[in-house]
């Protein structure tokens, strides 16, 4: 009996040490804030890069784009060596946001054209997202015409259709742990599982999977000790 108890303590201790080690490694991944993709209305190139020229005063637009209340950053890609001042606009169902992009924030080694908006809409809206060149020189935006990257959104420059502009919307930075309620609700949407069931599964996954796995091994220790009166027989080789 004492031996069984000792084994359980040893196993519990090993589990605890394991859990601490795992959390040490996974903790930063779970808890550190990072930008999360909220929507990818129009994708970047998979194989062939399309350069879309935006002359001074011209406006490139993409629609429809799903803009949720969490959206804070719009990101295009540019292949221009020198940036130009730009005006980004998000317009959709009772929501409008405008913001400027400084010329020096992109170009050269930095292809990402980022526009931060102060706040997203109160509820998710379908929007038209535009970028106007307010500088004196043309810039090139990166787009794609790959059928595999085709999305429902279309892009135009001054209302003339062009290949899809690469456009990604990011939400406020947050950790994966903080995102779990949204993750659960999105999984529920796409899987047709009720939300409460997805929550139950998350709890089961985090606690029951490691707990039951180790318990399964511990319970065999108990049954071995019961059957052998405290000392397990040494007979483990595949037998003829």
């Amino acid at each position: 009996m004492g031996s069984a108890l000792r084994s359980r303590w040893v196993i519990s201790g090993a589990l605890l040490v394991g859990a601490v080690l795992v959390l040490t490694r996974m903790g930063p991944w779970l808890l550190n804030d990072r930008a999360s993709v909220e929507a990818s209305p129009s994708l970047g190139p998979f194989v062939v890069v399309e350069d879309i020229v935006l002359r001074p005063g011209a406006t490139a637009c993409t629609e429809p784009a799903v803009v949720s209340p969490r959206v804070r950053t719009l990101e295009w890609a540019s292949s221009s060596p020198v940036g130009q001042p730009l005006l980004a606009t998000v317009r959709g169902q009772g929501f409008i946001a405008r913001t400027t992009v400084a010329a020096e924030s992109f170009g050269g080694g930095s292809p990402a054209v980022r526009a931060n908006i102060p706040s997203g809409p109160e509820r998710t809206v379908m929007a038209r997202i535009c970028l106007q060149n307010r500088g004196s020189r043309s810039i090139s935006l990166i787009g794609n015409s790959d059928p595999l990257g085709d999305t429902p959104a279309t892009s135009t420059v001054d209302d003339t259709p062009v290949p899809d502009l690469q456009l990604t919307l990011y939400g406020e930075s947050r950790s994966f742990a903080a995102a779990i309620p949204d993750v659960v609700s999105r999984i529920s949407e796409l899987s047709a599982f009720p939300r409460w069931l997805v929550w139950a599964l998350v709890v089961a996954l985090v606690f029951a999977v490691p707990g039951l796995s180790v318990s399964a091994l511990v319970s065999t220790q108990r049954s071995n000790e019961r059957s052998s009166g405290g000392s397990a027989p040494d007979s483990s080789t595949p037998e003829a």
Binding site: M26, V209, V218, N224
Partner: protein, 485 residues
């Protein structure tokens, strides 16, 4: 006399716990992976839907659409195709209702091809079609989730088969539990259980056949056992061409059993072995005729397009060596891309989720590589120490060699032919094809740990189970973040 399977109330506690673990693990993967994002999942899902809606399989080389208009519309609105293999691209979750509303009245029975999976035999897709029809969720996304749950149940079955295999090999309960735990927690296996793909049925049937074969050579082959083995092999042939090497296991096992079973009624045994052979042959004929009926003339279940390169024995041996080991001085450089043991056994065998784009960090793969290398070395050392008892168990070892060797030889052969083909089909070998080896991995671990002092065995086994659980959870979390975070 063969033992009967225990009634549910007599299933050992540890097995019951591990079956629950497998169910939760598989279900988590089914939900963490966005629809149609598994390997070739669009083709497999389209096959299931077409079979369910029309009673016929799609065609590999002809037809109007891969996806039915209903499924295609949902895929289009939710950007499921562009999301494939592109980290940083996510489906617009909030458009789910819109997608389902648009798709509701559209045809669901016109996904007749061309479908690259159409030449596979229909068993897995038939099971999927049943789930499609009985699904509590009536939307197409609900039905796809139900089809994924078939894989989860097959994972649970695989864990049970692994446990049964362990009970044939080992006397101690912790060893049975460890073998089953390895299968229940292997992250790639859990992932494949959670997507629509026949590989999980291949894995389940492989584990079943491995258990039955070991049982047949360690005990006496009975008529029931012979029929079970024949039935399982027939089912495997009706699942996937990749199961063909299993025939190379079951035929010798049946012959071995028939020749050895002198104290049984020879007539009954001969009859059952013949029936098992007939089942297997019948399934092979059905599978090949199904394949022919659903492909363009001139191709078969085995010869996929592009897998027809020239064969040179010397080059093949060099390719095999360099797949596992560094090139020797006298060898030509390896044919094909630089893909070898690490990429197949470690990276895509333990990770590379979704359509290969979700991965553990390089450090985690390094650790797995080290652990596998240590396990291989330890197995050799322990085997050398127990050589006498292993030699006495040669029929069992023979089963393992035929099982794993047959699979690997076929995969390497097909991959080599693809690499050397003019069409540039590339490497057609990936880690998920090796999932049938998971029970053997558990057996190796249980064998090696048994060499440790008795008191430390459960602790080491428990620690391994905890490490595997951590790996499994990390994989699910990484995938959930990729699609939904």
């Amino acid at each position: 006399m063969p033992q009967r399977l225990p009634s549910p109330s007599r299933i050992p506690l540890s097995l019951r716990l591990l079956l629950i673990v497998a169910f939760i693990h598989g279900t988590a993967w089914a939900l963490a992976t966005a629809p149609l994002q598994g390997p070739d999942e669009d083709a497999h899902a389209a096959y299931v839907q077409h079979l369910a809606e029309t009673g016929h399989g799609p065609n590999r080389d002809a037809g109007s659409f891969l996806l039915s208009t209903e499924l295609g519309t949902v895929s289009k609105v939710l950007q499921l195709r562009p999301t494939l293999q592109r980290p940083g691209v996510v489906p617009p979750w909030s458009l789910t209702d819109k997608a389902l509303d648009e798709a509701r009245s559209l045809p669901s029975d016109n996904g007749d091809g061309p479908n690259p999976a159409a030449h596979y035999p229909p068993l897995y897709y038939g099971l999927g079609a049943v789930a499609y029809h009985v699904s509590p969720g009536r939307s197409v996304l609900g039905r796809l989730t139900s089809v994924r749950m078939v894989g989860v149940l097959l994972l649970v079955g695989t864990v049970a088969a692994a446990w049964l295999l362990a009970t044939e090999l080992f006397t101690q309960r912790w060893q049975h539990a460890l073998v089953a735990a390895v299968v229940a927690l292997q992250p790639k296996l859990g992932f494949m259980a959670g997507v629509i793909n026949p590989d999980i049925l291949v894995t389940f049937l492989s584990a079943l056949i491995l258990w039955l074969s070991v049982r047949a050579v360690r005990r006496k082959l009975t008529p029931k056992l012979a029929l079970a083995l024949g039935g399982a092999t027939a089912a495997a042939l009706l699942t996937h061409p990749r199961c063909l090497p299993l025939v190379g296991l079951t035929v010798p096992v049946l012959l071995f059993g028939a020749l050895r079973g002198r104290d049984l009624s020879r007539r009954a045994l001969a009859l059952s072995v013949t029936s098992a052979g007939a089942l297997t042959a019948g399934a092979f004929l059905i599978a090949t005729s199904w394949s022919r009926a659903h492909t363009a003339p001139g191709t078969s279940a085995i010869d996929a397009p592009g897998v027809n390169g020239a064969f040179q024995l010397r080059q093949f041996i060099s390719y095999l060596w360099q797949f596992y080991f560094p090139k020797l001085g006298s060898m030509e450089p390896k044919v094909g891309p630089p893909v070898g043991y690490r990429q197949i056994f470690i990276e895509t065998g333990w990770g590379s989720f979704a359509s290969l784009e979700v991965n553990f960090s390089a450090g985690v793969y390094d650790l797995i590589w080290l652990a596998m290398a240590a396990l291989t070395l330890a197995t050799i050392v322990v085997a050398a120490r127990r050589w006498e008892s292993l030699r006495a168990a040669w029929p069992t070892i023979g089963v393992f060699v035929l099982y794993s060797g047959g699979l690997m030889l076929m995969l390497h052969y097909v991959s080599y032919r693809a690499i050397t083909s003019d069409s540039g089909a590339g490497v057609v070998l990936t880690g998920r094809y090796l999932l049938g080896l998971a029970p053997l991995l558990g057996v190796m671990l249980a064998f090696v740990i048994s060499a440790l002092p008795p008191r430390s065995r459960s602790v080491v086994a428990g620690g391994l189970a905890a490490a595997l659980a951590a790996l499994a959870l990390s994989g699910v979390a990484l995938t959930a973040e990729r699609f939904y975070g």
